[in-house]
């Protein structure tokens, strides 16, 4: 366990005291593949969404997958989660079939995807993250939770600086706070990999900064893959970037190559670091880059 600085102005000020090492760590050592996609293709009916996709994510990566709407970002996430099976190629997560390593993968959907009005406390939302596959008739589905489970959920809430609001109803929170609770729900099962699907949509700018501070802190101990079109907020925090628009191009650094830019926007004439690219885009589009709200 190691301490982290946390100076987000929109958080309550308690900071992120500790980010514990995940219990489930089957493949220690940097460079070990956490996600491997080889020649993956997927289509919905006749519409091809992904084609010949290769992707390698190793332990410790903080990868941002960016791309236009309809480019296959969410499909990619679902393939990694095992919710969809590839039509072609193979998907391996932690060296195994995605369905067999569910407990090691934490999934954070957009907070807007959950029911907006629901009688559930923040604490219970996090407890839902402890539910893992064990067969249709396995136990543990009855109402009520063990003390150990409740403590674990509180620990996850402390990690995202939301322990003070544990007893509050989830629908009474702001967008940024909700997203942090969903991060805690994913963290509660001690995952080796965290998957985020558009984590900053419907969150105010300050909430985004706060969330990315959290992700930065988490990335020191957990491999993170984030699907997003919010390039600007993510730019300084990620370690590598991939672009998906039916095809996928991955870069081991934060640099967007001409080929990547061409895949997103059709054409671009020079390679540039991500930060420079964003500054360039911002100067053209005012304060916001395409598809982003800094």
């Amino acid at each position: 366990m190691k301490p982290h600085d946390h100076s987000c102005p929109s958080c309550s000020g308690h900071g992120l005291p500790f980010i514990p090492e995940p219990h489930f760590r089957p493949l220690p050592g940097t460079g070990t593949p956490v996600i491997e996609l080889r020649g993956v293709g997927f289509s919905y009916a006749e519409r091809e969404v992904l084609s010949e996709v290769d992707l390698t994510v190793t332990v410790g990566d903080f990868l941002a997958v960016i791309g236009p709407n309809g480019g296959g970002k969410t499909t990619l996430v679902k393939l990694i989660l095992g919710l969809l099976a590839p039509k072609e190629g193979t998907v391996r997560v932690l060296g195994a079939d995605p369905l067999s390593v569910r407990p090691a993968v934490g999934y954070v959907p957009q907070h807007a995807q959950v029911q907006p009005s629901f009688p559930v406390t923040v604490h219970e939302v996090v407890l839902l993250g402890l539910r893992r596959a064990g067969g249709m008739l396995s136990g543990g589905r009855w109402p009520g939770y063990r003390r150990r489970e409740k403590d674990k959920a509180m620990e996850a809430l402390r990690m995202v600086d939301m322990a003070d609001l544990a007893t509050r109803r989830f629908d009474a929170l702001s967008g940024g706070q909700k997203q942090r609770v969903l991060v805690a729900r994913a963290l509660v099962s001690d995952p080796a990999l965290l998957l985020f699907d558009e984590p900053t949509s419907n969150i105010d700018p300050q909430g985004k900064i706060c969330l990315f501070d959290l992700l930065s802190a988490l990335s020191s101990s957990i491999t993170i893959v984030m699907v997003s079109h919010d390039l600007i907020s993510a730019s300084t925090r990620i370690s590598s970037v991939a672009v998906v628009n039916r095809r996928l191009i991955q870069n081991r650094s934060r640099e967007l190559t001409p080929a990547m830019l061409e895949l997103i926007y059709g054409t671009h004439d020079a390679s540039c670091p991500l930060d420079e690219y964003i500054r360039g885009v911002s100067s053209i589009f005012g304060q916001s880059g395409p598809g982003s709200t800094p």
């Binding site: 959950v114 539910r131 596959a133 589905r141």
Partner: protein, 269 residues
């Protein structure tokens, strides 16, 4: 009062109210939090096809309607699952077709049966003892299923995509939820009638949801609220010689408006 309670029809009415309240409290809460009131409406109107079929074939109404409605609910669940943009249309078709099927069978049944009115507007005071046992059986089924899969129902109701990612058998439970809704709807038709069944299935959970912070608490409070509305409505119906189903719904609606007003005022204070 004791003389009134000594009458079998009144005992049956109270028991039926209690059993229906339990079913409404539990399943109604799932219906409300999953925003499936329209689906429940479709199921309710399809149930009329089952009632018509029972009359036409001369079979016991409750078991026949349960079987027919469960089948229709399963078809609705299969047709609408994962196709939210088209689910309302599918439900609308089933809604109208089920109702029309029931009416046509009624037309074809020799000698128009006056009991039909009790299925349109409900008649708590006319529930026979044999139906009470059947309702008890259905309540045990509903309670057992929801308790066993409580956390999975909670997870899929709150966030279906996440539930699926953790291995919750979402499709199976979604279908099961529609089956339980069908069972509850048919049960409540006895009391509130086809036209008002949705209100009894919706109002108590919506009221309970205002004051609770967990699904099981919503279910428990909705059950109590539903029972309270049934008893008050029954008393109103008896003393003022009103239709019992409509009286129950009137009380429930007034109760919800009061609760909502109270909650709003408290929120502003």
């Amino acid at each position: 009062m004791s003389g009134l309670l000594g009458m079998e029809f009144m005992q049956n009415a109270l028991l039926a109210g209690l059993l229906a309240s339990l079913a409404c409290g539990i399943i109604g809460s799932l219906v409300v939090v999953n925003r499936q009131v329209f689906m429940a409406g479709g199921v309710a109107h399809t149930a009329y096809g089952g009632v018509g079929l029972a009359f036409f074939l001369g079979l016991p109404v409750l078991p026949c309607a349960v079987g027919f409605t469960v089948l229709a609910a399963l078809i609705m669940a299969l047709a609408s699952f994962g196709r939210s943009e088209r689910s309302d249309g599918i439900i609308g078709i089933m809604w109208a077709a089920g109702m029309a099927f029931g009416i046509l069978l009624m037309d074809l049944t020799p000698g128009y049966n006056v009991d039909l009115m009790s299925y349109l507007f409900g008649s708590l005071l006319a529930v026979p003892r044999s139906d009470i046992w059947f309702m008890l059986l259905l309540d045990v089924l509903i309670l057992g299923v929801v308790l066993f899969w409580y956390k999975d129902f909670l997870s899929l109701s709150f966030d279906m995509e996440f539930a699926r990612s953790t291995g919750v058998p979402v499709r199976m439970l979604y279908a099961l939820m529609q089956v339980l809704t069908a069972v509850t709807v048919v049960m409540v038709i006895q009391i509130a009638g086809l036209i008002l069944v949705i209100a009894l299935l919706t109002i108590p959970p919506m009221l309970a949801e205002l004051f609770t912070d967990s699904l099981w608490k919503t279910m428990a409070l909705a059950t109590l609220a539903s029972l309270f509305f049934c008893l008050c409505g029954l008393a109103l119906s008896y003393h003022l010689d009103l239709t019992s189903g409509a009286s129950i719904i009137a009380v429930a609606t007034a109760g919800y408006v009061l609760a909502w007003g109270f909650k709003s005022l408290r929120g502003k204070a």
